[in-house]
Symmetry: D2
Subunit: 335 residues, 4 copies
């Protein structure tokens, strides 16, 4: 971390600042230039509050050289993390495919979809029991009943289940859930992240609509700092000015995150684009870019889905996607 | 609400859709054109799920004519809402000025600032006891102790207090708080909004960093649908590509929201810009644009504030701001 | 196109508007609802100015059903366009790979890179003779001399050349250039587009940093309306709030544009990310998503490139990219 | 300017870099830390290409301390620039009000509007003769005839005229134009900027839809570097995700630019919001924030304007705006 001091800062001030920084356990290197004095900080600067330094009258600008995330940082954990999920895993050489309906609507629906996606190659079943909806008047999910239905489908098919939590008070309902999802709108719900950090459940953390990769990693850090290192990152599109697609899928997040962190990174092309026919090419692109997996919406009757119909695939279309993704993965594997 | 049907939709399909829509309590007007059939829906369409309609195979596009928010809609409540807060109010002819430190740090600090801002014209004291921070390693606030300190300052100065909630489980600590703030990162924490809808506390709802005005109003609707109509909206800057300022303050949100809703709208120029010297001109601009109030960070020692120092004003600078804002308000009042 | 009229519009007004619209050669369908009257317009609405309609006092809202672009529209030209470029082509079954330095610096440099990229599988040579730079103090390109150098490399290697134009007055210098590039900053330089529409040269049109796909297609329409249908579209990253990458590469633009238009679509992963090590995964992703080609920066000495060094590949790294992309293409071809 | 070198950079490399930088006329200060070596550069770093430095293998990161613009920089020209325009000026104590139709449509129209806006307090007449339109099928302006009409209105009313140029080849037609406008889409049309830098005409430079303030100032620098210091900056809204307004007006650009540059800054609330009823509050906000002037669309028949009707004011509404703005200016003047 480097702090550039303003012109006119005197020696006494520099000495005071230097002492305080040393008191924080950092090595301090001072370099006096013609106009500016530069202070270089070496040590664990992740615990230094950047805003605090910037708030000092004498400080002109602050620049981090090392990243403020630590547990999630690839530098300190060079090997890929592999998150165990039931009898499968995310982040290893296997490619995770989480598929299922946006919302759990009925046992018949979920059971039919679960069997179909398993047959087509899905490794986990996803489905929303608690649904974050922009409008209080839209369908909010079957809640506890929805989780029961997912558990029945798990019992029947053996697929581990992924479902979203919106309230830490609901944690007891998630005891048999395999992966707990934190949705984009809750990516910076720090109270929820802290609670999840106290569990050992695998957490699927979705990037917020307008959050940087650094913020995503800092939110992962909230969970990891609490003791839970089982975090899976998910890029699901960011908000831009483009209107043909619901959001803009940032596939470059995959190789960039893989550079920055050891945590697995998956892609959700369904929510990102909001257009069913874009799911297949985007899933293939994600596989080619090195993603560790996909999360895809599948519905046996997309035209009557209670939410997010326009982006859902039929089981047949999903089978076509997994076949195409497999071809890409096979081609890419040897690279 | 208008739905445009795809070419080739047959009469049977149109009749089925029409029956279903009538079953939802809507009047249905069908207009068959050369290429497309257009269905016009009249009635309370706020309860119609737009995604559901779009999910139907036969539907090409859907367009709302009336807005999906209802309790917050100016059309159904033409008069400005005035929210009572202790012995003052927000949304009436008086201009609300909420001022205080970003974080509550100590009783001495808060007491000194509270007295200073009151003297300078503040109508409420703001201060953060629970602090949402991007990094788990940054200062997270004094929590319950922070609220105690604010209540002492309230007792001493008579200023109502505004402070942020991050977890519905903490509600009991907020019993004597006058206005409960929902921060930008929690604007779509729907579980929290629902809980706050069950209270009668005035809620200060901040616009999310990447949320549209429509989404802000839908979040207000979550609170209001629960029975709590005491919602104050706050624009605090949106995330853009510009880097000189922390966020981009969208002042046009003030007159636009006043057109759309009867709820009061205030501006937070401190967080929006992140630059202390921009607070005064932006506060004046907000007043000129018709805002119902301001939320401004004031610190007796900005250079040592535990968070957000760069944007805090000294009590002296704040007094200069209130004086300037008052001049603008006086000039504007007669317009 | 649909226009929704305001409540209270009287019959006389509706009749007048209807007559005027019929005078524009459109069929007019009027549907009177309870609150609103809806006017449906059938015919060539691409020539109707949406703003003009919206400007009418009686009009509440306007919605296009068909797109405002016509020559570029896939609906009227179902087959893919294939643009002939020298002895190669863009948009057909072959995959175009345009490679070379950001800036032409010297004959030795260009000749060495041209031979290297040809050997590695490039189908065209790219290089900037005229350079749009944010700062007037940065290197602006070798201009006419740069084009001469490119032509020598073309003579030597047989590779068609692609280079950027910034000023229609320079057109005579581009006589032997195979593909004329319009940079992102000039995507809406309509005067330049009109001039290029009067030539028959293939035009590589880059998407502007903050332009929608619809605007990109409307800019293609400017060229095509002038009589030049040889337009190649290029996605090169859009401006967002993310800072790890220079821009955000919108790969979903590839399948989306292929849905909307018959024109070929290529991807420039070098400018989009600004990070050399992201070029390979993004090139592979583009191939998997169905792009018709790539534009990649290659420099024999990236560390000393006169501009855009950080994102350039060495010839060796480029050869690795083409090999990997070929694997993806082979896998995808049969899908 | 500071460059941080990568770990493992050896002394020989550092010496080479240092020599090269000294050769560019800079003072070089080297500070070796535990992990990183930091190089501080003092002198005229505006001519150092940041990308070139970043392209060097040994360089980890580069940070500018001083800004890359020089002629436009307030640091080197502490006093406000006042641009003379006919018998009036922009940037001084007087407040400039440029008003008129989006497009010049006819002599009658322009003459009527010119007289009306003059009577209401406008200091200049604006009107578009050359119109940049997204669609090639939309009205493109009366061109040379439009300028003739504006000159007649100038002769009649004495108001200096402001009109947009889209092509440097048209410069001869602008001989009697008082202020030449560069539109948002041409803000980085560097060839046009260079040509305008060779004139002595006042140039109104509009901020691009997705351009930072730094880029705006660099574009001003292009004009100034050519010898023309008569540049007026104009904020006219940036592109964001919000849809109620056409763009998001960044009023904080006013005080921020006034901090960074000595050039005058005006606001265009008409294009920024695209909504006629937001023009008045935004004009008042701009005045309160310290803008040097306004550019406002006025049309005698907004409902029939050939472009941009929805945002135009009638002459009566405009007179109400100027009266309200004047009240704000009077209140603010004494602050």
């Amino acid at each position: 971390m480097i702090a550039v001091l303003k012109q006119g800062t005197n020696d006494k001030q520099i000495e005071n600042l230097s002492s305080w920084l040393k008191g924080q356990g950092l090595d301090v290197h001072i370099s006096k230039g013609h106009d500016h004095t530069i202070i270089g900080l070496v040590g664990d600067t992740s615990k230094i509050d950047e805003d605090l330094l910037l708030g000092l009258e004498m400080v002109e600008t602050v620049k981090r050289i090392s990243e403020p995330f630590k547990s999630a940082n690839r530098k300190f954990h060079p090997d890929d993390s592999v998150i165990k999920v039931g009898n499968t895993s995310v982040g290893g050489v296997d490619f995770a495919i989480m598929a299922g309906p946006c919302s759990v609507e009925s046992e018949e629906q979920v059971m039919a979809i679960a069997k179909a996606v398993k047959a087509a190659g899905a490794t986990m079943l996803r489905g929303g029991a608690f649904k974050p909806r922009t409008s209080p008047y839209d369908f909010q999910g079957l809640k506890a009943d929805g989780i029961e239905i997912l558990l029945k489908a798990k019992a029947e098919t053996g697929l581990p289940i992924v479902t979203e939590i919106m309230n830490a008070n609901h944690l007891s309902m998630f005891e048999d859930v395999d992966v707990i999802q934190v949705g984009a709108r809750n990516m910076q719900n720090f109270e929820l992240l802290k609670e999840l950090g106290r569990t050992q459940k695998p957490i699927l953390l979705k990037r917020g609509l307008a959050n940087t990769l650094k913020e995503l990693l800092m939110s992962a850090e909230y969970i990891m700092a609490g003791g839970n290192e089982n975090v899976i990152l998910c890029e699901r599109g960011i908000r831009t000015f483009e209107t043909y697609t619901r959001n803009t899928l940032d596939i470059s997040a995959v190789p960039m995150l893989k550079e920055l962190t050891h945590l697995p990174v998956i892609i959700d092309p369904s929510h990102a684009t909001g257009v069913a026919k874009l799911v297949k090419p985007m899933a293939m692109a994600a596989a080619a870019a090195g993603a560790h997996g996909l999360m895809i919406e599948v519905h046996n009757d997309p035209a009557h889905a209670l939410c997010d119909g326009p982006q859902s695939l039929t089981p047949e279309a999903f089978a076509d996607v997994t076949k195409s993704v497999k071809r890409v993965l096979d081609a890419v594997k040897e690279i």
